[in-house]
Amino acid sequence: MLFDVSNETMPREDLEALQLRRLKSLVEKVYYNVPFYQNRFNEMNLRPEQIRSLSDLKYLPFTEKQDLRNNYPFGLFAVPRDNVVRVHASSGTTGKATVVGYTQRDVNTWAELMARSLMCAGASRRDIVHNAYGYGLFTGGLGMHYGVERLGATILPISGGGTRRQVMLMRDFGSTILCSTPSYALFLYESIIAAGMSIDDLKLHTGIFGAEPWSEKMRSEIESKLRIKALDIYGLSEIMGPGVGMECCDAQDGLHIWEDHFLIEIIDPETGEQLPLGETGELVITTLTKEAQPLIRYRTRDITRIDAIPCRCGRTHRRITRIQGRSDDMLIIRGVNVFPQQIETILLETQGVAPHYQLILTREGSLDMLEVKVEVDEKMFSDEIKHLQRIEAKIQKNIKEFLGVTAKVTLSEPRSIERSEGKAKRIIDLRNA
């Protein structure tokens, strides 16, 4: 079943004509309303009217996460602040969060695209959706929430945490669709078993999982343990939130990107050059219909490729394959985006701590564990245990406070943190080892 048949099955030719129309008006809009873009265009001697075809996209400047930070908080808004009805923000140390704004129409579009995504996953108005994505500044919870309501299904806005209660309500309410990070789904399974319950007590048939990287292996594990169909959802707050793309239940092979709203291309992350269709590289997205904060050629840093083969579900919107990695050093820990740079900033801001650190990621059962190893230098060292333990506790508290992740902080001897090619090897990710 399709939520919006005419748009979702629009012939490619019509779809591309629509994209071009929207791109032209977008370019004009950002040029005249966002000083950041006007400056960029001027620096490149580019005028909005020079964009005449979709292939001219490559002449437009990129937008990077740093540009959002540099224009913190509302510098990239293309509408007066009065017209912005909602703001979301990503985690970050003070002043470095990335902020996104939405007009009422943006919120409506988002709900619409999430409803499309839900139906793409096989959902209908009869479903009860257990939404374990976090509610708040993070886009996951509210994004899903509005989509479920738009579809007309029943939403259970349970958010994250309180796993025992989650399991109980899932059984008592007869939830049919689970939305969470894939690792939380496995954690829920363990809690179901630990509570002495059986999967037969539940009515789940589908899971919509995103916000962190996962593998086919993890998919089959979730599917066999929870006895559901597990589907991948894509989104990022800078572009909108969840629902930028969704895997269909028919093919279960790649995620349809809603191309009437998002223009996608794949570039070589090193050179910034567009890659031929079908090649693997970094996904770049241009928002075609965003009002409050439209972005031109936003570099997602997600590595994937575009699959242009028509899908058996009938949708004409092209698919991207499962995200294969990142072109930067961003880590996703229990669904939270963490840059090593942020940890470094926290260490620098913790008195007496030198920023020599290593991040070690492991998986205990289904949960990501983060260990931060910090080198003890002479300035920080003390002959008293309690002094060092205080520092450990303080670092841990600051990481939790600023990034929202719980880390185990371990003090280590200097230079015991592996150096490679003269540079410290900062990250050891053993989660998929």
């Binding site: 002479e378 060292f381 060092l388 280590s412």
Partner: protein, 143 residues
């Protein structure tokens, strides 16, 4: 009348302590007294050695984090109640002991107590007022 103690940060893994003692041995440095405090993932080795400067340089060269602290060495008769009497007078003088360790001299008649206080100067004053012998660094290293 303070005595310099060096302290070394150690990760809680096999061979780290031996690496310290090996370094000291190779540099002909004798250990007068030591204590090791540990947690689940790290430890702090505190040492009184015959040559602080040399020990510190040698350990730093091996990549260890080394600190220096002033401690107080007090001599008591090696008999029941010796330590207790000292703790009583410190308590009465309002001085806190952060940590301490002890060893018995070769003669066997006396014990040397190494104290780390929160207020070192005040502690020395209390001890001396009560006629406790407080050892200088020179005296301690040459025992």
């Amino acid at each position: 009348m303070k005595v310099e103690q060096i302290s070394v940060f150690l990760e809680n893994r096999a061979g780290r302590l031996a690496e310290v003692t090996k370094t000291l041995a190779e540099n002909q440095i004798n250990i007068r007294a030591l204590s090791l405090a540990d947690t689940s993932d790290f430890g702090i080795l505190r040492l009184i050695v015959t040559d602080n400067e040399k020990a510190k340089e040698a350990l730093k060269a091996k990549g260890f984090t080394v600190g220096r602290t002033n401690v107080v060495a007090a001599e008591v008769g090696d008999k029941p109640g010796g330590l207790h009497a000292i703790l009583e007078m410190l308590n009465a003088g309002g001085v806190n002991v952060e940590y301490m360790y002890a060893f018995v001299t070769q003669s066997g008649r006396n014990a040397i107590l190494i104290f780390r206080f929160d207020r070192t100067d005040q502690a020395i004053e209390v001890l001396q007022k009560n006629n406790v012998r407080v050892l200088s660094g020179e005296e301690l290293y040459s025992l």
